[in-house]
Amino acid sequence: MKDFFDFLTLSDANVRYVVLGVMLLGASTAVVGTFTFLRKKSLVGDAVAHAVLPGICLAFIFSQVKNPLVLLVGAFLSGWLSILSIDFISKRSRIKADAAIAIVLTVFFGVGIMLLSYIQSTGNAAQSGIDHFLFGQAAALVGQDVFMLALVCSVLVLAVWLLFKEFTLVSFDADYAQAIGLPVRALEFILSTLTVLAIAVGIQAVGVVLMAAMLITPAAAARYWTNKLSFLVMLAALFGAGSAWFGSYISYSAPKMPTGPWIIIAVTVIAFVSMTFAPERGFYFKWLRKKRKANTTMDENILKIFFHLGENEKNGLVARSITQLQARRYFDESKMRASLKRLCRAGKVTENKNRWLLTEEGINESKRIARLHRLWEMYMSKYLKIPADHVHEGAESLEHFFTPKLEAMLEEQLDYPETDPHDKPIPYVKNNRS
């Protein structure tokens, strides 16, 4: 607990640098990554992240020092080269984009591994720790590094802030952006440059292998919560910074633990939670809404059976057993029972010894369903010229989706017809005709 408190208050200067540095990285790569995600370039991001490795190694071989700025330049150059190679291969040959990405990713990474082992075999003392770029080693960040990180991150965030409108257009509708005279190619160039830059600094925290997640997963998670881009960017930054904080806390309290993988775990868990429980787009609530709609549809169908039986016998106020209902229209018994139970709770039917009777509210409701069905049949045969024996199917599904407003329009347009195309009377409730 003391650990946690120490960590939270950032009382230790080293911890302060590491945590602030990593959170800064998490937030700014997420901001830039949002556009990578929206432009559907996630896997290109992955390739670039792997492809910076040879650049770092070459920069080290030529300079023989582990200066973060020099390594950053190397990473940046080879990252850019990989983007150009992917474009070139997929445009100038029959190789498709996915294979081009995989080729560039693996070949660059392979060359990187080759150079890395070459560096390690030369025995230069300064080389120790260069392999931290593979999985990231946030704990190794010191004051000087953090200063440079802060500089680069501010450039990233500032650039996105200044060119926000332009980036939005280019990401969502490049053709339109071109048509209104925006320099699309230049903007794409700037966006790619920012991405490479974000990756080049981000690998300090999570390493080349997992960098793609740092870039796109926060945005992918945030996407479930909002449709507004400015909000999306901020939320992604928040997720990025939050999981960076979590990752560095874990490796602070258990020093053997690598920071990068824990950051990725945190941000992916956020993504899983988002895709499940986000109110609008999460699949749990989507599934729930679907189930509710299925339930109301079923309930309405049951009420309609009551109506039809009552109409045939000219008496709607008869209690019916499940078998009687099934004889009119067959549904699975367990489903019917569940539905009748719901209707009981809603006060639309009452139960007495396994027989069910419509209440007044239930009668009105059942008439409404039958009316909608018949009105829509009428509309289809009158305006869409569909033969009377073909209109039932469409009405069967649409009757569950009409809103009161649509119902009123339908009635008005058809001028309150008395009967449907099958010459069945259309039931109106009193006060319904106003």
């Binding site: 029959r94 190789i95 995989a102 080729i103 693996t106 392979g110 591994i113 292998v209 990068g260």
Partner: protein, 293 residues
């Protein structure tokens, strides 16, 4: 037999199995799924290792095959049910599983002789040292070579038996379905094979460079021919060539052997990209221009 021979043979076997399957991945535009699987089998390997307590190959194969199929399933689930765009779904799933694998490795580091280094670089150097101890003539063959050879045979046999299924579901899935060949079935068969090959290869060449062997020889062969059978043969030849030349390069530079093999693969691809008779950049530029005049 000599030490170098076994290493080159290991590389050649890995490259051949990967290349054969890679042809179908490239043709189905699923290269990045191969990439995803090769990262994602890591937790499967670690868990199988923890359960079985050994590095013996059967539990690992099963573990990896399960995780491989789980990966494809997860990607499909996230992109279909949760409606995430496909590229992001792939990126999200494999980075997550890989991170889980790395963390498991760190947590159980003292319980297993497997570490992050081995995952990235592979341990091809140790292949010739691990011999069978059966007391028969097999004892001169390294254990790993036997396993790689068996997997290679499995891949060849699977492709031979399922050739028609793979061919049809790759080029014309609708027609395949219409004559009763399930494209889902063959999809999962392919994914299982890819996971299997990935897991037996990763110890030798590292989890990430397996992808190089999956995609680059196949893509190179794709530039050289329009005929699937030829493409399969060419890709295997490219793979073997890269193993031989890569070993030589690694010897020269005293560098990682799988890394060097990948570098050679890159060069071979570049040559095909520039010079392939029909689809190369230069022949198209000069030869076809002259034809048009």
């Amino acid at each position: 037999m000599s030490y170098s021979f076994w290493i080159i043979l290991t590389g050649a076997l890995v490259a051949s199995s990967c290349a054969l399957l890679g042809c179908f991945l490239v043709l189905r535009k699923m290269s990045m799924i191969g990439d995803a699987i090769s990262h994602a089998v890591l937790p499967g390997i670690v868990i199988a290792f923890l359960i079985s307590g050994s590095r013996s190959s059967l539990p690992m194969l099963v573990g990896a095959a399960l995780v491989g199929v789980l990966t494809t399933f997860l990607i499909e689930f996230i992109s279909k049910k949760a409606r995430m765009q496909n590229d992001a779904a792939i990126g999200l799933v494999f980075t997550f599983l890989f991170a889980v694998g790395i963390i498991l490795l760190t947590v159980f580091a003292d319980k297993m002789d497997l570490d992050a280094d081995c995952v990235l670089h592979g341990e091809i150097l140790f292949v010739p040292l691990d011999l069978f101890t059966t007391g028969t003539f097999l004892d001169i063959v390294p254990r790993k070579i036997m396993i790689l050879f068996i997997v290679f045979i499995v891949v060849v046999v699977a492709l031979f038996i399922g050739y028609k299924g793979f061919l049809l579901t790759t080029f014309d899935p609708f027609y395949a379905v219409s004559i009763g060949i399930s494209s889902v079935l063959w999809h999962y068969v392919l994914m299982t094979l890819v996971s299997m090959v990935t897991v037996v290869s990763f110890e030798s060449v590292g989890a990430i460079l397996v992808v190089a062997f999956l995609v680059v020889p196949a893509a190179t062969a794709y530039l050289l021919t329009d005929n699937l059978k030829r493409m399969l043969v060419y890709s295997v030849l490219v793979g073997i060539l890269s193993s031989v030349l890569g070993y030589g390069l690694a010897k020269q530079l005293d560098s990682s052997i799988p890394g060097s093999m990948t570098a050679v693969l890159g060069i071979l691809f570049l040559l095909a990209f520039l010079l392939a008779p029909k689809y190369g950049l230069l022949p198209r530029k000069f030869v076809f221009k002259r034809d048009r005049l």
